[in-house]
Symmetry: C2
Subunit: 340 residues, 2 copies
DNA sequence: CTGAAAGCGCTTACAG
DNA sequence: CTGAAAGCGCTTACAG
């Protein structure tokens, strides 16, 4: 059972491969009778195009590479899924790679993507390594960096306004009368984490509240680390009355820890999360959080990349900064409120 | 800045492309001096292999297609991620497609995968459609069906023993003295859901407990639907004292609903979930659940597929059935127990 | 020990 | 209105 090629179709239809190609792609006028013959042959033989051959010839694969740190993290899963969606709508397939926050693995993936001649790459950094991006750029492969900034000028980026989001979250807590506000961060080398903390500091300093190192604990964006960090915070002599946590998974972990210590959220402890993953609204108490515009992030990144791949856009690089929005639910309340 | 090809390297090194190809792939002996010249040229020009050309020539793309219903569902995200992992270890890239439980989209993806000449496909069905698989098979592309069974004989499958898992979950509840046990299912046309319910029925009937239609509610595996289903169940005249819920997300939703109704889990209501996603152990009370062997599922599917792609295995199709294990935590207790 | 050449399955500039 | 042929970048059977 050999593959049927355009040549087989040509023979069957009694025309040239040129003509077959043109009727398949509707790329030049073909006499209706001839066309019909070709279509019948196509049908009869069950012809299937071979994109590999097409790609080799055309120099384009209609494929984009997507590198994420870990697609089993709900945030990235959601983003990856949307990117896949938008790409699909535009006729692109996506090759997915999990870098596992491991820069060797990331380098490997990039090399594979270059070898496979992807038309473009959407890149969520595993941190540090900029050479990988330069490899891509050096091979004329457009790149859009999403979510995590990289120290590289000549690349398009789509980011959240993390500083502002951190400020907003903290501001909300300050407005509720809290003064001793802790913060559970992500890994310190990631730009989103750093910037959210900067926003937190700005909000505090605006109110003349001193920044306290002992109220900051770093997690790794996973559930467990939120639990652990919270437990440590609750050991402090001066217990915080509120905590800003840089993603929802850790926030849920932190709420669990608080409850285990006999604290009631929000009455003893107000909690603000980050991301607004589906479960945030469902947990008890429903989580006050900063909603990330997943869709917009994915869509902006994808359409920006597609623009670049088409070579339509100008030379200068774009920085798209998206806004997050505070969603107030039940996990925060006025300091000193009492359970009804 | 033109791409550098094997030909450029050959000229630079003063040898034939044949030789260059052989040193790159280490596929025949080359005189050390010649080899060195080639390696230097490779280095100097910054040669990068072009897999597309290689694929066309070799008839293999080192790429596998993965179709999942929805990669933003934590279960599939986890499985997809592991498959990607194992594939990577074996030198395969994965093209990911979300079928969205939409059979048209699924068909589209399959067509793309065929056109892109993937070496194999791992397929988690969006339900119903078998023609898609036949297309694949008809094009000599090996397929492994995972998680959800399909009504097709001649294909490899890797499944969970869902009937037994359903039985075990229910049996656990029966042993705790429960008799009025509800069940929140997934969509009725999915084999895992159906089979788990069958196990549930078998356990009941073994104890001589009649199956009651009104204790069964269908959800869609999402958080929200668990909440809704639970609310409905609690309206029943005879309230269930226990409920078996076919995935953890719905179980968490159901616990939320129960708590909103003023019920305490597990004292008023025992809950058993399914999947054992990370958050199951973290929720309060920690969820008793059926742990799926994600890793094994992904690994079995991937290695079975790789076997097939290598043409190593025999003609006869394999059915791999994996065991799930009950993990008892805090959401279930003896019927009639009272909070300490 | 090495090379010339065919061929994988397409698209497309050129010619008529 | 249509076709012959080159060429995309590789691998490899064949020959020496």
């Amino acid at each position: 059972m050999k593959r049927v090629t355009i040549k087989d179709v040509a023979i069957e239809a009694g025309v040239s491969v040129t003509t077959v190609s043109h009727v398949i792609n509707e790329t030049r006028y073909v006499n209706p009778d001839t066309k019909l013959k070709v279509q019948n042959a196509l049908e009869k033989l069950g012809y299937r195009p071979n994109s590999v051959a097409r790609s080799l010839r055309m120099g384009t694969t209609k494929t984009i590479g997507l590198i994420v740190p870990d697609a089993s993290n709900l945030f990235f899963a959601e983003v990856a899924r949307k990117i896949e969606d938008f790409g699909y709508q535009q006729g692109y397939s996506v090759i997915l790679g999990n870098s596992d926050n491991d820069s060797d693995k990331q380098t490997n993936y990039i090399n594979t993507l270059i070898a496979k001649q992807v038309d473009g790459v959407i890149f969520i950094s595993a941190g540090g390594e900029v050479q990988d991006l330069q490899q891509l750029l050096g091979n004329n492969i457009p790149v859009v960096v999403a979510d995590r900034d990289v120290p590289l000028e000549m690349v398009d980026v789509v980011l959240l306004d993390n500083e502002k989001a951190g400020y907003d979250a903290t501001h909300h807590l300050l407005n509720l009368g809290h003064e001793c506000i802790a913060c559970i961060t992500g890994p310190n080398d990631l730009s989103p984490s750093m910037l959210r903390v900067e926003g937190y500091r700005r909000a505090l300093s605006e109110r003349g509240i001193a920044f306290r190192e002992d109220l900051i604990k770093a997690g790794d964006f996973r559930f467990k680390s939120g639990e652990v960090a919270m437990r440590e915070l609750l050991k402090q002599s001066c217990r915080p009355t509120a905590v800003f946590i840089l993603n929802d998974m850790m926030a849920i972990g932190a709420m669990t820890a608080a409850r285990k210590e006999g604290l009631s959220v929000p009455y003893d402890l107000s909690v603000v999360g980050f991301d607004d993953i589906e479960i945030a609204s469902a947990v008890i108490p429903a989580l006050t959080t900063i909603a990330q515009p997943f869709d917009k992030l994915a869509e902006s990144a994808t359409s920006l990349l597609i623009e670049r791949m088409k070579g339509e856009s100008t030379q200068e690089k774009k920085r798209i900064i998206l806004d997050a929005t505070l969603v107030v639910r039940e996990s925060t309340c006025q300091r000193g409120s009492v359970d009804a």
